[in-house]
Amino acid sequence: MGMFAVNAFLIFLLVIIAVVALNVHRLFALVMLSGAFSLTAAAQFVVLDAVDVAFTEAAVGAGISTVLALATLSLVPREEKPHAIAPLPALIAVATGALLMVSIGDLPQFGAADAPVHIHVAPDYISGSEKLIGVPNVVTSVLASYRGYDTLGETVVIFTAAIAVLLILAGWTRAPHLRDGETENTHIAQNAQDREDGQKDAG
């Protein structure tokens, strides 16, 4: 019961952080809230027995993602233009959420040991981990051995993303020397305006 209370409290805390994040206009505060969200989620993962997921979320979600966001913020404006609540997207979100909530009725009871997900392959992984792989941490043996190809695919995705970031930030399409506050003048409309102004000055 105590565990249930901690679980219920942490997930409620996540909702509060998400609502505040949605309403804050300073992007630095927003990024910090995003880090806090990931860290609270990591605490919740510990309560739900997912310790490996918890430390990955804390290191990657709260750590690396926040660093990436701060690096971006050093190069872009730090204020969000205030927005009123957009009715159509709000309606879509509420309708989607309502549909998902209706479908919760079909899910097995939270924490039930006889749910289909627990009686298919998981018992084999748990019983085989020590005997076949020799690793007491079942998550490690599934990740690196039983489903090693998934992890290989994951490294391919990371490699592709790294190439994409390098091409976007250092590729040939990037103007080499932009001074602070300067933007690439690639806009036809702006260039035409500049030409007009130049002709006026000449004439």
Binding site: L30, V117, V157, T183
Partner: protein, 132 residues
């Protein structure tokens, strides 16, 4: 009511997902979209991990005690992969934001769209004829 209390995690996870979803589709600021995506993504992780939880279970690290009940390790593995892939896509997203800011001088999507429209009109005027 007891049903909502029993399935509390699932209901709140859906609220979290929709908050993130709303931030992604309604907010024009691109950094806010990325944070919304992070919230959306983390709440999907929460859904999976909630499904893997067994009452009275412990973390799936073998204790040697035959009586221990372990929570399902499979969702944990899937979500570990998803977290790492998530940060990779986040990095690409932020790189794109930096490039968009360099090209347009703004990271608000309506302002970027206005600049693109202005360019389009200027191009059409130029194509229509240099006589005017």
């Amino acid at each position: 009511m007891s049903d909502i209390a029993a399935q509390w995690n699932y209901y709140v996870v859906i609220v979290l997902m929709m908050l993130g979803f709303y931030a992604v589709i309604a907010r024009g600021n691109m950094v806010k979209k990325m944070v919304g995506l992070n919230i959306f993504q983390t709440s999907v992780f929460m859904l999976y991990i909630s499904v893997g939880k067994i009452d009275g279970g412990t973390a799936p690290i073998l204790t040697g005690d035959a009586a221990s009940v372990y929570s399902n390790p499979l969702p944990h593995v899937l979500i570990l992969t998803a977290i790492v892939v998530g940060v990779a896509t986040t990095a690409v997203g932020y790189a794109l934001i930096i490039r968009i800011h360099e090209a347009y001088g703004t990271i608000e999507d309506d302002e970027v769209a206005a600049l693109v429209d202005a360019d389009q009109e200027a191009r059409e005027r130029a194509d229509a004829g240099p006589a005017s």
